[in-house]
Amino acid sequence: MNTEDRVAINKLPTGVPGLDEIVGGGLPEFSFNIIAGAPGSGKTTLAHQFVFANATPERPALYFTVLGESSIKMLRYQQQYTFFDSAKLPNSIRFINLSQVVLEKDLGAVLEQITKEIEKSNPAVVVVDSFRTMVRKPQSDLDLQSFIQRLALFLASWQATTFLIGEYAEDELRDNPIFTVADGLFWLRQTPERNSIVRKLQIIKLRGQDSVPGLHTFRITDAGVQAFSRTFGLTGHLKDPPSHRRLSFGIPELDKMLGGGVREGDSVLVAGSSGTGKSVLATQFIAEGIRQGEPGIVAVFEERPQAYAERATTLGLDLETPQKDGKLEILYLRPLDLSVDETMHSILEAVQRIGAKRLVIDSLAGFEMALSPGFRADFRESLYRMIFALTGIGVTILSTVEVDESFTEFPFSTYSISFLTDDIIRLRYVSIDGQLRKIMVVIKMRGGNHAKDIREYEITSRGVVILGKRLTDYQGLISGIPVRSDRSDPSEGPSQDTGIEHKT
């Protein structure tokens, strides 16, 4: 059978931001779906969003309520969500209560009642909430199986896309016939992780659709359910071809050390202990980008955007004007129960909003703290996904990371993430002539040559200023406790290596 002969499955919008991406572009029309999960996991809200997104007066939605939450209270609460459109009731969305027939009669009568209503309304969408309570009365397996089979066939014949909502436990997955019949199975979970609650969504199956596997985090806000795909909404997005452009820090000496600047689309790690000027360097990087017409995003976790911008002012850098002009956004992300996917969503939205070319994450430690404890365990893997996704769309990322100052080691990161970064700039304190001074060295540049020089720098009212020539009078500088050597060669400028790539 060639492609032209295949039936095209129409995809319906789920009405849930982020979920269309997860289900492979939309929900298959006429599919018979289960939304399962514990009470409070967001099942009803998700179904409502689908209903409000798809119901029309010509092809309305029938929402059958059974036992459980009373319809009045359900509508009382659901109308608080912004997706709830009162104008759709009752012509496009009809709520029908089946409690009486469920309580007083058998499944045959329930099916008859449902059939009657469907024939009357010709709905495009049918929801049964909760299906679990509908079949809770003792039934023989055969009766239940027959009921489910007949219901599924009837609804499909009437060209209705169906959601059955139920409070199921995961150990029921093997034995319950409903899961065999269903085309789609959406499982919603909410689990406590220390003091945080994490909500996750899994598409256990979805016939005829290339859904994104895995557990996707979601949040319920006043806009309803918002899902965050593990692919960050970038499925099918072609990776931009590598650029040869170099981005300046606005610090000429540092640009020289970097072989002309950071390669566009790189991930740069600035590592150093507290007070070494990581944030200052990051601010200069973003400010220089704006000066050159490259909008930027700063994701801050440890201080408020206002404080961040004020600190930049003390360095002679104006971050207020570009914010007003829509060329800079400072995102403050610190609810303590974030997932990386959610953080990524906020960053991506901002990137797309202003067409950002540069992104600063200040700092990775703050980012980790903002995550729910469960996500901290996967921090490295999450960073990998995030960096890969962002650099893939051409954004250059500068992350700062605090490392413990050691006088025996020279660590680049506490997260063992150096392999995730293209370039590493290491800042550190060094004890020289009775002073605690600062040195900077480019450890690695994946895409090109860089200086091997160890340079002294200061943080001044103009930001980071690299001093003089490379330090040639000392040995053991990276140990932090150098010893003066007799040799000196002050005439030498920054030296470039000869094409050897530094691996870390």
Binding site: K73, A87, L89, P90, F95, N97, L98, Q100
Partner: protein, 153 residues
Amino acid sequence: MTTPPKMRDLAHRLLAYEAVEGKTSELEEAATLRVYEKLRQSLGEFVGATGFQSLAFRALTQAKSEAPGLWAVQIAADGSLQGLGEFEPQLVEFEPQLGSGKDQASEGGVVLIARLLGLLLIFLGGTLTLRLVQSAWPGAAFDDCNSEIRRKA
């Protein structure tokens, strides 16, 4: 607590609408019954018979404190209204300020319907309440709770 004026006004208009729809020779309580039955049908589908019965029982309890003429009215298990039109003779005889039995029936009907609508207003808000009323009276045009009910052209 008395009936919210907006709901009282809406109840008045629904009763007037039904009085015109019905035969002019019908008793006052017939209009009340017709309004109530339409609400029972419309809400019953939405909240179920038991759900409607609970709401109606609460509305009647509130209404009785405001309209003594409803003393004999009861809500049956299926949510239907019983005993409307039965007036307490002593009240008519010894408390003439309450008006005739006809007046009591009229006032009782308004209060009961207004209380029922008032509960919907509390739980669902004005927009959804009006939409539910609109679905029960598809032939009538409602612009908002304060406007006249018109017959659709």
